[in-house]
Symmetry: C3
Subunit: 212 residues, 3 copies
């Protein structure tokens, strides 16, 4: 598989997983169909759009290649039907949301950093842009659906993305781009799912006694 | 009336209605004068700015033509005085806010889609950009004033915009641009006001029993 | 000191003060290290990034000059350690946050207006862009950390920025750019700190009786 095709395939796959997480969040917040569509678009396109804006790669990626919008619409329709067949209770929907979100975070974080490096920016900028690509869509989703923003919840979220992106920028110096991308993504997914499964949290900044 | 002049006039009119909705929301959230000015600008300029950023039409529209800022400032001043003469209670202020918001939504949604098509983007991108132009300003207003975001409230909001924009993109294939623009706007205003008057809602995605 | 060097030094200084305010807000909201890093970046880079996007000065300023990111990382690390040595209670952390925020607001508001004028935009656009540069970072910080957004709190915040920027645009007509910049900044810091110290508020738009 050529590098271009791998890049494109992974981006479409990440778009679908984040659209799924958007619909599931919309279901949890009891939105209607169009609300779910808005949230699916925000999740799937928000982070990459913000990255493209900041690095000056406008018009943003999904305006020139309709395959992203073409992937979101059927995903939203299928998930809206599928959500009725996921048994209620037991946190199964929340678990699917978390896994879809972890995969989308990993893929977009690494692909966002890779695109930034390809355009000639320095490594530190690529790390920030990768984090934005991975995190921003979920953050806007949480704000619009009045959920506690991910960055507030602890849960090793931004940290998983940043560790994975830094690993990718280091690994790509000693091996091929494709290998580095896949390892970087794997690191993020593993850290994120391990942290979720075991309820891991990084230490908070200070004891809660001194609130003001 | 030439098409350019119609386009410009409608945009200024939409700017004024959305500035009004911003001031009324600021009054409901008990902000001061400058908070009202910030909210009026966000409502009136936010959606179109985000559209211009995403399609790469920068600097954004209101930086090159001062008539938009020139329309917002007196509107804000007049509304701040007028708000004292609207009788309290009975939901009259809320009703004016809803009507101003519906007109602004309709005008900006269709004009946003029209501008995107004129710049050579495909129809699906124009639908999304129209929705962003119409909805984003109100969404940022709601987030900044700590109101439940419109997309969360059901109330046939995003749906009215999307139905109207799709109608516009279809109608313009069989008639003139001006007629299609006016019909598209009318569809959005009618759907939105009927839904508000009768309290219509689209079905929610799932029963509220399975919250997690 | 040359004008260019003054401009650059003040921007770095403002970046550091706003990064400090981000870490302090993260501590108040009990985030972890990476959450604090995200919030420091958002505070320090958010307003200037939004201004650069709107005026079309992309890629945004901090992607081409790594000194901004280089200033934020050690500031975040030092503040995370320092926050443990600030005695709890008595509102000292909140006071440092307010002062850091006031300085950052003043510097970025005037520098944002100055950059906009240098690029040939009109004065009213420069006033709006200055306000965005000064205010937007703090607004996004408040939304992400689930604090009441500054513009909602009254407290002479947006008003201090707007008065200072208008003063700067007037003063620069009769004296040198450097003098006008420094006077404009001083006006904002003084208004903001006096308002905070004495708990000043502008009158709210209407009596709270008519809530709906």
């Amino acid at each position: 598989m050529s590098f271009e095709l791998l890049f494109q395939s992974l981006t479409i796959f990440a778009t679908i997983t984040l659209a799924i997480s958007g619909v599931l969040q919309a279901a949890r917040s009891e939105m209607d169909f169009f609300g779910a569509l808005v949230l699916a678009c925000v999740c799937a396109l928000g982070g990459g759009s913000l990255r493209d804006l900041l690095i000056g790669a406008t018009p943003v990626f999904w305006t020139k290649d309709l395959s992203y919008l073409a992937a979101i619409l059927p995903t939203t329709l299928i998930m809206i039907i599928a959500v009725h067949y996921i048994p209620p209770g037991k946190g199964i929907r929340l678990k699917i949301l978390d896994i879809a979100d972890a995969i989308g975070l990993a893929l977009f974080a690494i692909l966002g950093a890779a695109k930034t490096l390809q355009l000639g920016f320095d490594e530190p900028v690529a790390v920030v842009m990768g984090a934005i690509t991975g995190i921003a869509g979920g953050m806007i989703r949480d704000i619009l659906s009045q959920t506690v923003p991910i960055v507030m919840r602890g849960e090793v979220y931004a940290s998983a993305a940043i560790i994975g992106i830094i690993s990718y920028t280091l690994i790509r110096m000693v091996t091929t781009e494709t290998v580095a991308i896949l390892i970087g993504m794997a690191i993020i997914i593993v850290i994120r799912l391990v942290a979720l499964e075991w309820g891991l949290n990084l230490p908070k900044l200070k004891p809660p006694s001194d609130k003001y």
